[in-house]
């Protein structure tokens, strides 16, 4: 791995590796088959500070920069992608609150996450998909309170979250300019959770609908200003996309490692299949692409840590890494042949897990709109 | 230190409510050979209370002398009292060697005693050799998780003190010595010297299961057993052979069995008359724990499994097919 890590990054990476190997990987298949949220495992992870990596130390968080987080999330997703997703999404909601919210809001959300609670990032809607501007979930001011009505779809951690960061529109006709974000406690009257999605992959993470029926939140739960919702969401998604790039790289690396392990021992013709050029070239391609994915991700993370605008770089890292993950995991299934297709071996799960990385946080088609938009503007 | 002042081979004969610990009798058998090689006396040392029956048994075990410290104080083991008693005895009689079983208590006070006597202690030995030239005992023990065997000597000081694992040596029929000298030693340990007190003994749930280290037949299973239900056939085989079911570490890690059933360097050393390993590949950690069995049968699909290197009968086949047929055929034969 041609990446220079600091001593601290190395140590933390080793810690994550140890945790994933001992506490997660041995149980991943069972949870995957049941489609169960591994609450006990995640509780341990929260105690280690893995759920609050981006939260400042003053709030009790781990206080890591994006570059370090990318290293750790890659390692987490290498072990189990659903767990890495469950542990990072609350932090994504916090990104918004940190950049745009009040001190009280920051404290509220930060401390909840540090205490091991989940905060969902409720942006996507069933009929709007990648177009946040087409949101129908609405809000209106009534006295000192905002009243929210509508639904959100495919929301990570929704069934377990104590708070939701809800993006709602003042008037659908306003498009993206109508969006505002609110912190909604899950126990607020009118909030209900829909059914849990029965997903193809990433089955250790929880995904569900959220419904808001005349949900009243006090004025101070508006994050930032009205109409800033879209901008906030995009800022937060920039970071989210870096972390997705990291997780996808981890999945791809696992696919490579499993392929190499298998190719060295599988000898149907007397020689390990790793000695066949046909297999060697697949492995070489995986290695090339994984290294590129990792570097793109690291680059975006470093730029973000330096306070630069990274919409293009994050979109590049996200789309490239997730495409690499999809390809690498598909190739891993191919290398393992019949065993690759069997649940006895881990690679079919990698392939199922990888797919969603091309879809969520903006499909890779949307990423290309972001990228081309930025390039054409330059 | 003038080593020549120290003579005789001592064995601490540990007694429990059930009588003499088997390991002590195993040690008497092996120590007899060492005493003969060294042309020294074999002395059994008993500490406890109401030891008459035990002393009688020991007298039949080929010992030359018996030293008995019999007092109520020693009914229950305590580190302080036992260390004190043995320190007094060693100072008085100057034995060359003191062997103890690597039991909970043996391992508890052997090192402390050695420290008090400023001599060497060797723990968990599995092999003993008396070197007639140096007149030292050479103690061999597993180390580094069973990857390595180390031979250790205590060549400058006496007594040489060490604990020996149970099941390593066999109890041999002994020639009873005439005129075994029995010495009663009256050593009082002052009560205030004893700093620990056993408040409660919680016996393990009583089971009719035979301990693997005592079993004459052992059926062993390991990683090859994927589902807990699959263990039934192996338990049945063990039971019909009047033996015990033992396991390798992966099954202990799965918490299907406790470490008490585990064979290997980190578990128990066993030497049954018949060992049947089912689907066990034979990592050195395991084979080191069972290779002194009289007859080793290994069942494995992989003809190149390392366990076949130590097996008397290398059975190549799927244990889930072989074992039911074995059980069935044995039943037929017995009828």
């Amino acid at each position: 791995m041609a990446i220079i890590l600091t001593e601290e990054q190395k140590e933390l990476k080793a810690l994550i590796k140890e945790f994933m190997e001992n506490e997660v990987i041995p149980y991943a298949q069972e949870y995957d088959e049941r489609g169960e949220f591994p609450e006990e495992i995640l509780k341990k992870a929260h105690e280690m500070g893995l759920g609050c990596m981006n939260i400042e130390e003053e709030f009790g968080g781990s206080g890591l920069d994006n570059e370090t987080m990318a290293v750790l999330i890659e390692e987490m997703a290498y072990g189990e992608a659903g767990v890495s997703t469950s542990l990072t999404v609350s932090g994504l909601a916090y990104e918004c609150v940190r950049d745009f919210g009040s001190q009280e809001q920051k404290k509220l959300i930060a401390e909840a996450i540090v205490a091991g609670k989940y905060v969902s990032f409720a942006l996507t809607e069933a009929d709007a998909g990648s177009n946040a501007g087409a949101a129908r979930c609405s809000y209106a001011l009534d006295g000192d309170e905002y009243v929210i009505n509508g639904s959100k779809a495919f929301i990570t951690n929704a069934s377990y979250a104590d708070y939701h960061l809800v993006f709602a529109t003042k008037d659908p006709a306003l498009g993206v300019r109508g969006l505002s974000a609110f912190i909604v406690a899950n126990d607020t009257p009118g909030v209900s959770r829909g059914k849990k999605e029965n997903k193809m992959g990433l089955r250790l993470s929880n995904t569900s609908d959220l419904h808001f029926d005349n949900v009243r939140v006090s004025k101070d739960m508006l994050v930032g200003k009205e109409g800033l919702g879209f901008k906030m969401a995009m800022t937060s998604l920039d970071v989210g996309r870096i972390l997705i790039g990291a997780a996808a790289t981890g999945i791809a690396q696992r696919a490579l490692d499993e392929s190499v392990k298998y190719a060295k021992q599988r000898s149907p013709f007397g020689q390990p299949i790793a000695t066949h050029q046909a297999v060697q070239f697949i492995i070489a391609d995986m290695a090339i692409e994984i290294e590129a994915a990792r570097l793109l991700t690291k680059n975006a993370a470093i730029l973000k840590d330096k306070g630069m605008r990274i919409s293009k770089e994050a979109a590049i890292a996200k789309s490239f890494s997730s495409d690499v993950a999809m390809k690498a995991t598909t190739d891993a299934v191919q290398i393992l042949g019949g065993y690759g297709y069997s649940k006895e071996y881990p690679v079919e799960k990698l392939m199922r897990d990888a797919k969603v990385y091309q879809i969520f946080e903006g499909t890779n088609q949307i990423q290309r709109i972001v990228i081309s938009g930025a390039v054409l503007k330059e | 230190m003038d080593k020549s002042l120290y003579k005789n081979i001592w064995v601490y004969v540990e007694t429990t409510e059930d009588g003499i610990a088997k390991v002590s009798l195993e040690l008497l058998s092996e120590a007899r050979k060492i005493a003969d090689a060294a042309a020294e006396k074999l002395v059994a040392v008993l500490v406890g209370s109401d030891l008459d029956a035990a002393v009688e048994t020991v007298c039949d075990s080929g010992v030359d002398e018996v030293i008995v410290v019999d007092a109520k104080t020693y009914q229950t083991y305590s580190t302080d009292a036992y260390t004190f008693v043995f320190a007094q005895l060693c100072k008085k009689y100057k034995p060359s060697v003191l062997f103890m079983g690597a039991t909970d208590n043996g391992k508890d006070f052997a090192p402390r005693l050695a420290c008090r006597l400023n001599t060497g202690a060797i723990a968990d030995t599995t092999e003993l050799y008396y070197n007639p030239e140096t007149k030292d005992v050479e103690w061999t023990k597993p180390a580094f998780g069973g990857n390595l065997m180390a031979t250790i000597v205590c060549d400058e000081t006496r007594p040489q003190i060490g604990t020996i694992r149970r099941g390593v040596f066999k109890i041999m029929p002994a020639e009873k010595k005439q005129d075994v000298v029995i010495t009663q030693e009256d050593i009082a340990t002052p009560q205030e010297m004893i700093r620990t007190l056993v408040k409660e003994v919680i016996a393990e749930k009583a089971t009719k299961d035979i301990k693997i280290e005592d079993a004459e037949v052992i059926v062993a299973i390991g990683r090859g057993v994927k589902e807990q239900e699959q263990t039934a056939m192996f338990a049945e085989l063990a039971e019909m052979l009047g033996g015990a079911l033992a396991v390798t570490r992966p099954l202990v890690d799965k918490e299907w069995y406790t470490a008490k059933c585990q064979i290997g360097q980190s578990g128990k050393m066993v030497s049954p008359k018949l060992y049947i390993g089912c689907g066990i590949s034979g990592a050195v950690q395991h084979t080191a724990g069972m290779c002194s069995s009289d007859v080793i049968v290994a069942i494995n699909t992989d003809a190149s499994a390392p366990i076949f290197g130590v097996a008397d009968y290398a059975v190549v086949g799927d244990m889930f097919e072989v074992v039911p047929a074995l059980i069935d055929e044995l039943k037929k034969i017995r009828q």
Partner: protein, 262 residues
């Protein structure tokens, strides 16, 4: 409570390889780890601290690299870490090791309890704990799976071969612990980062007061390793393999029967 935990850095035996010719360990490339049972000992100590307050100090004897193991301890609850390191300590057996550790303990302060792991992965002797107790002239409890303090005494549950035993011991006391209930905790990201910055107190033999140099290292040892070799493997025996597994099983039954083994 003032608690001292004695720990050792050992080679990871899962990775260990033996030179088949010399029979000695190939140490190159083998990771050095905190002895697993010492991690349990630290966990036991930290739980005592959490229950009764106080401080946990970890002490190790070894080469300068052993600082890594001590930092690992700091990340999971040790307040202070001390390494005694000196060529003079080399080749110590348990007697010399326990002497050096006990002399350091006396210098570091008044401890109520010294906790050790039941044994180390390398030597597997389990002797250092009881021998520290002897050097300190304290009570000892081995095979501890749980402990608490009641009326100024240590009440420990011992994990025995045939069950358990509850023992009360006067303080100060040396306790050596088994894994049973002391599964070590994971460090947090923050504690791991903080541990990396922690100063480890390092002492040489000269810096330990009243240390008798004759009683440390090789000269203080009463045992020595005469030789080492890899664990033996035997000779292959009779192969039994029939067309089917079933036939193989039946043949095995007859062979064992004829050999009067069953």
């Amino acid at each position: 409570m003032n608690i001292l935990v004695c720990v050792k850095q050992v080679p990871d035996t899962e990775e260990i390889k033996i030179d088949p010719i010399t029979g000695s360990l190939i140490r190159e490339g083998v990771a050095a780890i905190l002895n697993p049972l010492d991690a349990c000992a630290l966990e036991a100590a930290v739980r005592l601290k959490e229950a009764y307050g106080g401080k946990v100090t970890v002490l190790s004897m070894g080469p300068p690299q052993a600082k890594e193991a001590l930092k690992q301890c700091v990340a999971v609850g040790a307040d202070e870490a001390v390494l005694i390191t000196d060529r003079a300590f080399k080749d110590a057996d348990t007697l010399a090791t326990s002497y050096a550790l006990s002399m350091t303990a006396k210098q570091l302060g008044e401890f109520d309890v010294i906790v050790c792991g039941k044994h180390t992965l390398d030597g597997e002797t389990g002797q250092v704990g009881p021998q520290i107790a002897e050097h300190m002239d304290w009570s000892q409890v081995t095979h501890v799976m749980d402990m608490k303090v009641e009326e100024g005494k240590l009440v420990a549950v011992r994990e025995m071969e045939d069950g358990r035993e509850v023992v009360e011991a006067t303080l100060p006391c040396v306790a050596s612990v088994t894994k049973a209930s002391y599964t070590p905790r994971y460090p947090t990201i923050k504690s791991k980062l903080a541990a990396g910055k922690k100063e480890i107190l390092t002492l040489s033999a000269d810096e330990i007061k009243n240390l008798d140099k004759e009683r440390i290292g090789m000269s203080g040892s009463r045992t020595k390793v005469a030789k080492s070799f890899s664990a033996p493997t035997g000779q292959a025996g009779m192969v039994i393999q029939e067309e089917t597994g079933e036939a193989t099983g039946r043949k095995l039954a007859r062979i064992l029967h004829e050999a009067k083994l069953v």
